[in-house]
Structure formats: structure tokens, C-alpha cells
Symmetry: D2
Subunit: 395 residues, 4 copies
């Protein structure tokens, strides 16, 4: 499953640095050395996320809790790799669910660090909402040694507080690299399923689901909805590459927003659902605040709307008639910003145990060597792709 | 507790009709007669609700589910009265929780009827979300016999599907008349307490609560929050009559929005809470969509925002940066439009069992005879009052 | 899909009556006539339930709320049939979710009637917990006209308060007859999913599930668990006919209780789960109180135990060390007695929408003409069968 | 508020050791010294808990997760004290909710340590369910230096992983010492309020509550129920000292089990509730498995039973007809073993913010100098007391 990693014995580690938005520069860094509490990861693959794209296009004003992007950064936080070396305390502490981690283990890192000291960490155990914003890929700068704090690099330095989810043997790297994304889908539905109305008395289990968007995050929610037994799954997205792609994952119906006006689309989406009253759950997976009012139109009375894609602040607002779309329908709106730590395990469980149900191996549509990171970014931006990943072991 | 009701033996029943917004006309109607399935209520008191005011001022575009006001109407849906006569089937069916109802029983009617046949009634048992919109006071027209379908009248005709909550002996009319409002507070918190994060592991029970608004609906939420053990209750409202009034009910701190700009107010409200991180629960009780963004600013990470006051569509939208205020903070937004049937019982239980804790008898600040309905409406509009009620047995 | 129903035009309706436990007598009754509020169902198939067996064997002391079996009865409450005739009010009222019901519609009746007047009906809308205990098959006696109140009959008389779930065209009778059982599985998981710990932060969606029992009710829970994305599903049951049968539905592992002692079995079951800490959810589907302590041994800390099979009181108790098995592990125990009304719709949705995932057509393993009801009962008692049904249109 | 602590400058620290059940021996230990990660607490007061009594009487077989008592122990885990000295890392890490802790701060320690490495710690963040069982007072032996791992001592050594809840200035030691107990009440209700049925649509907020037991843990649940707005609170306990004591805290009615047989008592308790159908919530606070069947008899349909008092395994089972008492009533049973970390803060919040509502200062009824620990234990055993505490600064 793994390529021969000639790089690991070399002095220099290749990485891609974004010093300012829009610029991706290849650099070399010294091999990092570990202590008892840290580790080094050989990065096998790293995905390009919508957040990476927003930062690249200089659209991102801030992240959760108004946290900034700490330039210069090594982008990339959707990572799978192999432990090259690990300290003895780290070996005991880094396992996501208490398991020991050893050299040679394949892992997906939980990229949001928790300091375990700030108010947020103390109040929300298990959630990646640390006030210090130490997230690999945008929150920890690569200005200072050991520099390697993002996934667009051959190696990554693992700080003491990181958690690592072990990848089951049967899940190859090109599927495991998607675990970080899929875990957001898991978190969204876990949040939703806690709300009182979805699992109401006699509700159709997960019932009807509408997903706004058709990129990798939308796909994560399609997958989770299917696994949870959704009755109908409707996707509203674009462009046609992606909306057509969704059929691989057995959605009930797809609407391409380029092919209809809002006025035409709303009744069509509603009529595609058995009840014509709206969906039990609608999930925003576009990243754009402008879609919120449309999304709320698809929610049935007492249904739930999840805002899962608007992770980065674009400095723009949503405009909503809350009487018609929220209070008058007794709707619940759930904001999701990233995932719980343990949902990484859930994502990997799904990939392992439920793999036969869905073509996970088709999620990564494009793989680029690290030397072609610009091409990778352009491919991701063009959206004629599902998940685009970088293989840093290839040049 | 009851005044001498000379009217009840007369041929004609006095009532106030709104044929178009802004006009309140006194009319007389014939005494209604009942059958096995119906009943007649002697109205003791009827409150003026914000919805009545919005309809009067011609601000209301529609109600829940886009339901219209069916002019001409007899306004008024906050009602307490005594059963004058009741049919034998009605006696068995109208009790809110299975109790028999007899002549002479004091009751608060559940003013939203359920047809028990439409999709909404079949799907949401116990919730007043019937698609036919038969609500006393605005949804059932008074155009046709027996006309008496609102509380601004000496008698009210009780249709077969109505439910009636019995008033405990120890709760006088001038407190029971507020049960319909208080039941919305109960419903809001019941919805909130189902959400996953408020009763999180180790949460401060209900924690800190901020209420936007300082009218009767705001007061209903203050009362419910106090009863549920809120740590701090902060009110943000106006005018000074009402904000000062709130101290009677033991709120922690009150902010008058006339006395500060939004920019000044937000940090002040946050600093009035122990954690300075925002409140666990913020409840909108103003009726105005413009306050939503401010309200969301007061919610702490993983907290809940309830939209409870925007019951009538004013045709206006809210503008919200959902990344900063909802998804980036993992916030849940709960829309509440009215109350559950059984929450009327909860409200009356509170009035009976927990009365010693709070000065319920001060809620009704102004009582007008039915002949002075215009004065009553002007007093309610001016907001130098808490609850304004009409006594239809007095002229 | 339907057999030619020559019987429907005849004067006499064949039925099987149990006057005392252990006796099944064939009788004929007059064709019932309807009024505006009632209907007549042509019974296509009727399953034999564990409750029927307990009553037959005189093991059943009482049902929920201590309700008795009202002998003489026409047994049978797992029913699918076709509307032969329906009154005009009934046509509007009997649809489970507000849809109109017409002659010729195929339906599954919700066999527990609600009076809508008693305390339980008023307090628990949507749940079949009426204090009057009017359940077809055991609660409504067949002593009085029109007699036909159970499914072991060619026709069944539908009282005004009954609800009917329409059967989708693509679901044949021999699958739809299982809807009543499957709906219990849906209800169990809906109850469980409301509990705080299963959908915890980062939980493996439904996680690992252990089912105690291997009959039709156990199968209903296997199906629901699979549809909800359970990671592993372990069955602990007997006899070998049934435990082997379970593999058709893709369970992870089966343990036959005849092949191991309790002491051997508990560690084996625990080791068959990835975590070895116990299952997230364990469901009792045996009907026997003696299995409760074993079942609780399979629950992991903070997990949930569902008692779903002990529907009828056998007059026997369970013995449990609650410190070791409940409080010391922070376990939640959920008692389920039957299903919500609307879960019938969920069951039929599953049969329609998710049919391709599972071999629903193999659930009914034995079909007997009504004239061979004794053979049917013996086959059901022997447990070398999954679901045994009676076809009352065949003699 | 604090006594003059002459001891703190002395060489020797007085403590009480239990080497075997039933023996309490006074010993002296050297003053412990701290490092960057640890601290020393001057113990102001330490309560005697039911667990201490069970251990003393040699009734306790094991604690949660089958964890043993690690003799010799210094008993006592209900503690309030003042930080004598604290290391610089400890100062940043020990604050329960992220606050810094300094010398001189009054604190209540969270006595269950989490290793943050085992499977339980990783899976249940925020819960004290560590598999290593390092609980002050029974789980950490006092065999090895620095010995001081229980509250029956003048000083306590605070290990790196301990959390400390700061005591508000307005809460005196003799109230704060009860925080550990009250936090169990908070945790119980937090668990319950997550269950689907208590905060059902229209439920009477917390509704009717029955508490089994009348000791300090029962009182913690009475207090929490009152703060949460329970409609009626019924206590079923003994002896008369304690049942009469409960009236100080405004319970609705008290039943002394010494004054009635079970057969007499059950209908009387049910009739003391408005609905006569049972309580919404019943909480076991006796510690004895024999009371479970009686307690379940008090639960209404769809209600919740909490097992909160059976913390220590006495090696005895409960016998329950689960059909009549759990499944046939759709009851939920919630096992609670101790409290969440953060519920300590909730308890202290209640003591601070809601103190005016309840006579917290009357909870400690007896205070003994450390030299009279045997008298203290006998007083606690006799149950003619509410909370008995030891003041280790007095001899």
C-alpha cells in the first residue's frame, strides 16, 4: 500500500509553504528530532480542503472563535501517514482511544490540538475548540523550528497534545486520507440526533435528507446519511461533474443549481420528497452564507438545519426570514464547525466495517506529487474533481 | 374570585370585533346554543397579546405556516373563564389531560385547535400546528354563527376539538389569564432542554440566561428560567417601565436598550456573566427580526438561541454572520412558535405549586372593562404596562 | 400479489377463536356491516406473535398496565389486508399520517386503539398506552357482535379509532405482514437514540449491538441496527435453526446459548467486540426475565440496555446486581412495550426504500391456511421457523 | 471564615488511617513537599460519606468497575481546604474550568483522578471513570510516601492530574464541604434530563419527584429537584430524625419506612402525587439494592428511575418484575455512580447563587475534631444526623 519512502533517511524534508494567500512555495527543512513527548509522521497523503482553498484565494477572514491564519503556514490538515519515530510518553498518550502508538503505525492525526488548560478546553472535553487555535495546516505557523506543522510536507512534527487515530489494516491510505472530512459528517449527524425532533416518536429513523453542496464535505454527509438509513437523500449542488458524481453513492436525486432558478428549484426539491413537506434534515455543505435561506426552505416543520460547511468566515452574512423559516416551523438550526476528536475513529470504523456498502476508493479522484502542488490546487479550485490529494513522497 | 355575571342570563352577548386592522367595534351577538360536542365559556378575563397588537397595527403578514388572519375576527386568545354549559361528549373529551369538565369549572382554553386529520396533526401529536389554522382570536372568523371565536367577548363558543385546562382553585383569574403566555416559556425551555449541549456533562443546570425583550413574553421566560434554577438571568429590553418592572421577578441585571448603543452593550452584557463567554441560553422575546444578530452575540460556545417572540411574520428578515455566530461557536438555534397543548397545564402547575416564589399577582398591571377596549389597546401599545387585560363582564 | 378472494362475497366469515388458553376453535361469523365511522378489512395474512404463544400456553399473566386477555378472543395482531368497505368519516380519519383511505387500499392496521380520553391517551399522544387496553387479538373480546377483532379471521372489523398504515405497492403482503414486528425494532432504537450516551460526542454512530434472542423480534432489531449503521451486530440465541438463519441478515457473529454455559459465553461475547468493553446497545428480545442479568453483562460503560421482548408478564422476576451492572457502569435501561403508532410507517418505509439491502422476502418461512391453525401454532412453538403466518383466505 | 491553622508550620501532619475495615488509627506523617506539577492542601473540613461507612463496616465488596479499596487508606473524599503551596505547572493545570489556582485559594478537590491514558478516560472525557481507580479516600493507598491521599488528615497531597473547584467567597467551609455530595444530585438530574421522556412535550418541567432515602445524598437530590422546579417532592426514608429534617428543605411530604409496610406505603405514596400515576422521576439514594423494586413502583409510565445511591457493591442483588415495572410502563432506568468533574462547579454555583432559597448552613449537623474520629463515625452510623464532618485542624 505504501510507496518506497527514500526521503525518510535524507537530511532535508520537502514541504510547501504559503507565506501569503495565493502563493505556494517549495522549501526544504531539516529532519526534526523528537523527545519523550513528541513524534514524527511520514506523510503518505494530504487532501486539499475547502479551507485551504479559501485561504489560498484570500477569502478567509478568520476561523472558529475568530482565530487567524498564522502565516507563514504549511497548508493541509487532511492527513494520513506512518509514524517514523515516537517518544516513550507520546507512545502512551497519543492514541485517540487509549491504544499505544508505535513506530510504523499508520495513523490519521486529529489536527486540532487542545491545550487542556483554557476555558474552552476545560468546558468542552473532547471537542477541538481550544482558544489557542493550534490547528495543523493554518493555526500553527511554520515560521519557527521544527517548522513542519502542515500536511503539504514529507514529514510532520507531532506535538505532545496531538491525538492519533490508528488506521485499520484494511483501509488503504487513499481512503484513510478522507477520514478527517468524513468525521465532520459523523459529527453533524451526532449533533442532529441529539435534537429532540428528529428521533421523534415514530420518526422515519433519519428520514429525508437534503444536502446543499456536492463537494467532498457534501459527500461526507451523503455517506453518513446513507449509513444511518436515510429514506431519501437529495443533493442540491454544482457543477455537473460533481452532481453526476454523487450517483456513485446512491443518492435519490440530484439538482444542479446551474440548471434552475431558486423559484423553480424550491418546489421541485420539495416535490421530490415523499411528504412534500420538506426534509427532516437539511445540511449546508457549500461554505457560502448566501445559501442558508434556500436551505431553510427545504426543512419540514420540526426539522433540523445543519450549518456544516461555513467553517471559515468570508465576512459575509446570511439573510433569513426567521418567522417563515425557523420559528414558524419550530425548526432547529445546528452549527457545526469541525468535528469531535473521537469522530475520527467513527469515520475509520465506517471505512473498515461498512466499506462494502459504498465505493470509498472512488473518493480521491486526483493525486499529485508534491512538486505539482500548484496543479493540485488549480484542480481543486476548478471543482471538476471530488477529493484532490497530494502525495508528498513523490516529486 | 369571580364578579357577579349579570350578562350571562341576557339575550345578547357583547363582543369586540376587528373587521380590518386598526378598528375595534363593539357588537352584540345572540346567546350561542350547544350540542353534545360543544360548550360555552363565560369569559372572565382576556389578555392583549403582542400578536393582537401586530394585527391591530396591520404589521402582521401571516402566522405560522403562512396562515392568514381571517377577518372579521373577535381578537383575544389569552383567556380564562367559567364553563356556562357543556355537552355530554364534550364533558368527556375537552379535558386537557383526561379529566371530566363540568358546568362551573374554571378553565383556560387551549386556543389552537387540532383537526386530527391533516398531515401536521397526524405527524405532530400534541402540538398546535394544524394546517387549517383554527386558532381562536385570529384564525377562526367571526363572520358566521355562532360568531363567538375570540376572547374579547362575554362568551366564547367552544368547538368539539378544543382542549381545556382546569384552573386550580388557588389560582385566581387575574393570574390564570397569563397561563397562555407562561406556557410559551415552558415550551421554549422544554425544547431547549432536549438539545444536547445545555444539559451537558457538568453544565450549570440551566446556567446563565439572557432574555431579549421585557414584555409579558419575556417575563414568561424569566419566570421559567428562575424556576429551572438559572444561575444568572439578564434582561435586555425597553422601555424603562418594563425593564424596571423586571426586578420584581428577581432578575440578575437589566439593560435598557435605549440607554446604550449596540457596540457598548454587547461587551457589557457579556461582562455581566460570570464566565464572560456568553450565556448558555439566550431567548428572543421581542417579536422583531432585527434583534437576532445581537441575541446570537450573547450565546456562548455550544449554547442555545431560542426564537420565541417572532410569532407573526412582519415581512422582514434577519441578517446574521452565521460563521461567527452559529457554526463557528457550535450554537443551536431553536424556533418556537406558540406552545404545546400540555404546557398550559405546566403553566398552571407553576402558578399553583410555585406561587410563593414569585409575585404572580403583579403580572396584570391594567384591567379595562370591555367598553374601554380602545383604551386597553392604547395602553398595551404604549408599553408602560406589563399585562393588560379586558374584563368583558364589565362595561 | 393477492390471491383471489372468493370469500368476500359470502355470508359467513371464517375465524379462529381461543376461548381458553390452549384451545383454537374454528367458527363462522356473519359479514359485518359498517357505518360512517367504521370499516371492514379483508385479512390477507396474519402472523403468529410470541404473545399469541404465551397466551396459548397460559403463561401470560397480563399485558402492559396489568391489562388482561379478554377471552374469548380471535388471536392475531400482525396483520396485512385490503379495505373491503369503509365509511366516509373513517376514510378521512383512519389514515395513519393524514392520508385518505379507500376501498381496495392495502393496509397494516395499528392494532392498539387509543380512546383519546383517558389519562394515558391525553398524556402520551402517539403512543399505544390506552388504559382501556383495546388491542386487537387479545384486548377486545370476540364475545359480542360484530365479533371480528383479531387477525386469525377472514375479515376484521375496524373500529372508529383505529389507524391504518398504507402499504407501498412494491411491498408484497408476505413482507408487509412483518411490519408490526419491525416497528418495535424501530421504536426501540428511537427510544435508545434519545438517550444521552449513545450518540455521545464521537460515538461510533450506533456502535456495537448485541441482541439477546433469535426469533422474529430479535430479527426486527437486527434489521434496524443494520439500517442504522451498527458497527458489529452480535446475536445470542437459540435454537440452531434460528441462530443460523440470522446470517442471512448479515450479523457479525452468532452465539447459540445451547452450546455454552453462561460463564463461558460472557467473555466470548465480549471478546467478539472490537473494544472488549461491551456493546453500546444490548437489546433483550427473548421474552424471558431470566436473561436480563446476562444481557446487562454485555453493556459497556455508559451503554444502553433495552428490554423489548418482555411484553407479557410471566409472573417472574429478574435478579440483578445493580451496582455491578447498572449504576457502577453508568448504564441506561430502557423499557419498550410495543411500538409507537407512527413506527408502523417507518417499518413500511424501510421495507420499501431499503429493501434492496436485506432479504425481507425470507422472513416469512411458513404459511398455513386458516384451517391448519393448529399446525401453524405448533410450528411457531417449535421455533424451527422464523415468522409463521396464517392465510385466512385459504382453507 | 478560617480558623487559625497553627499546624501548617509544624513538622508533622496528623491523619487518620484505616488499615483494615473497622479500625481508625491516628498517625503522623512528614510535611509533604511539592514539585512543579503538584500541590498541598490544608484540609479545612472533611465529610463522612456512606461509602466511608460501608468500608468501615466491611460491607463494601468493590467500587465502580470492580475497583478495590486499596488498604491502608486515609478515608474521606468530601473535602474543602486551602492551597498551602502549589507548583507552577499545577497552578495552570489544576483549575477545574481553566482558572489559575494560587496559594491561599479555597478549593474543593475533584477526588477521582483521571489518568487521561486508559480506554475509559479517552472515551468518556469529563467523567471520573478511570480504570486505574485513583480516588482519594479509598483508591489511592496511604502505604507509600507522601501518604496523604485522603481527607481525614490535616493536609492532602495533590497529584498532577487532580482538578480543583474554586470556592466562591460567599460560601463558607461548612457549606462547601457538601459540594461533592450535591454534585451527585446535579449529575443525576443532568443524566435524567437527557432522557427523552422527562422533558417531553408539555411535561411539567421536572414534575413530581420521589426520593428513596433521607440521608445527605437524598438531600442532594431534594435540593437539585427543588432548584429545578419540581412540582412535588416526596421523600421515603428513615429514621425519624432524618425524615423530619427533610422538612427544612421544603419537601412536599415524607414517608417514614419504619411506620408502614410496603403494601400500605405504595398506594399512599402514589396518592400523595397529583396524578396518582406515579412520579416523573424516582431517585434511589439509600445504597441498598433491596429498595429497587419498591422505587420502580413509584415511577409513572414513561418516567425515569435513577439508581444513584448504590455506589459500592454490597454483593447483593435486586429482584424486579421487569415487565410490570420497566418494559410494561416504558420506563427508563439510569445508573449514576458518582459525578462529572464539572458538576462540582455546578454544586458550588448553587451554593453561591441560589443560597437564599435554602438553608444550606443546616446541612452539617455535627462537627468533630480529628481526635474524635471514632465518635464522628459512630454518629454518622447512627443516622441521627445529616452530614457529619471532621475538622482536622482541631484536635
Amino acid at each position: 500500500m505504501r510507496t518506497n519512502r527514500a526521503w525518510s533517511s535524507q537530511m532535508n524534508v520537502k514541504a510547501v509553504v504559503m507565506e501569503v494567500p495565493g502563493s505556494l512555495v517549495q522549501k526544504e527543512y531539516p529532519q526534526p528530532s523528537i523527545n519523550d513527548d513528541t513524534a514524527v509522521l511520514d506523510v503518505a497523503l494530504c487532501g486539499i480542503c475547502g479551507t485551504d482553498k479559501h485561504i489560498y484565494k484570500n477569502e478567509s477572514k478568520s476561523h472558529f472563535l475568530d482565530l487567524p491564519t498564522n502565516f507563514p503556514i504549511i497548508p493541509g490538515h487532511e492527513i494520513v501517514g506512518t509514524i517514523e519515530s515516537i517518544g516513550k510518553n507520546a507512545s502512551k498518550r497519543m492514541g485517540l482511544l487509549g491504544e499505544r502508538i508505535f513506530e510504523g503505525d499508520r495513523v490519521v492525526p486529529v489536527v486540532d490540538l487542545r491545550c487542556e488548560e483554557c476555558w474552552n478546553c476545560k468546558n468542552y472535553p473532547g471537542w477541538p475548540v481550544c482558544e489557542r487555535g493550534q490547528t495543523y495546516g493554518w493555526g500553527i505557523t511554520s515560521k519557527n523550528p521544527p517548522y513542519l506543522f502542515g500536511g503539504f510536507a514529507q514529514k510532520m512534527y507531532l506535538l505532545p497534545n496531538i491525538l492519533l487515530a490508528k488506521v485499520p489494516d484494511s483501509v488503504p491510505d487513499n481512503i484513510a486520507v478522507y477520514a478527517e472530512v468524513l468525521s465532520v459528517g459523523c459529527t453533524s449527524f451526532q449533533r442532529v440526533l441529539h435534537s429532540s425532533n428528529v428521533y421523534g416518536e415514530g420518526s422515519p429513523i433519519v428520514g429525508d435528507v437534503v444536502i446543499q453542496g456536492s463537494g467532498p464535505l457534501a459527500l461526507a454527509h451523503v455517506i453518513t446519511a446513507r449509513i444511518l438509513g436515510a429514506r431519501n437523500i437529495i443533493v442540491v449542488g454544482k457543477p455537473s461533474y460533481r452532481t453526476e458524481y454523487m450517483n456513485k453513492f446512491g443518492v435519490t436525486k440530484v439538482f444542479n443549481v446551474d440548471e434552475s432558478s431558486l423559484e423553480e428549484r424550491i418546489p421541485k426539491v420539495l416535490c421530490s420528497l415523499d411528504t412534500r413537506k420538506g426534509a427532516d434534515i437539511v445540511v449546508e455543505c457549500t461554505g457560502y452564507p448566501e445559501v442558508v435561506e434556500e436551505g431553510l426552505s427545504y426543512v419540514k416543520p420540526f426539522g433540523t438545519y445543519v450549518i456544516a460547511g461555513i467553517y471559515t468566515d468570508l465576512g459575509r452574512s446570511s439573510t433569513v426570514n426567521v418567522q417563515k423559516l425557523i420559528s414558524g416551523k419550530h425548526v432547529t438550526v445546528v452549527g457545526v464547525s469541525g468535528q469531535t476528536n473521537r469522530s475520527y475513529k467513527t469515520a475509520l470504523d465506517i471505512m473498515e466495517k461498512l466499506a462494502s456498502k459504498l465505493p470509498f476508493e472512488e473518493i480521491v479522484t486526483h493525486t499529485f506529487p508534491i512538486g505539482k502542488v500548484d496543479d493540485a490546487m488549480q484542480t481543486a479550485l476548478k471543482e471538476e474533481s471530488m477529493k484532490v490529494v497530494i502525495d508528498p513522497q513523490k516529486i
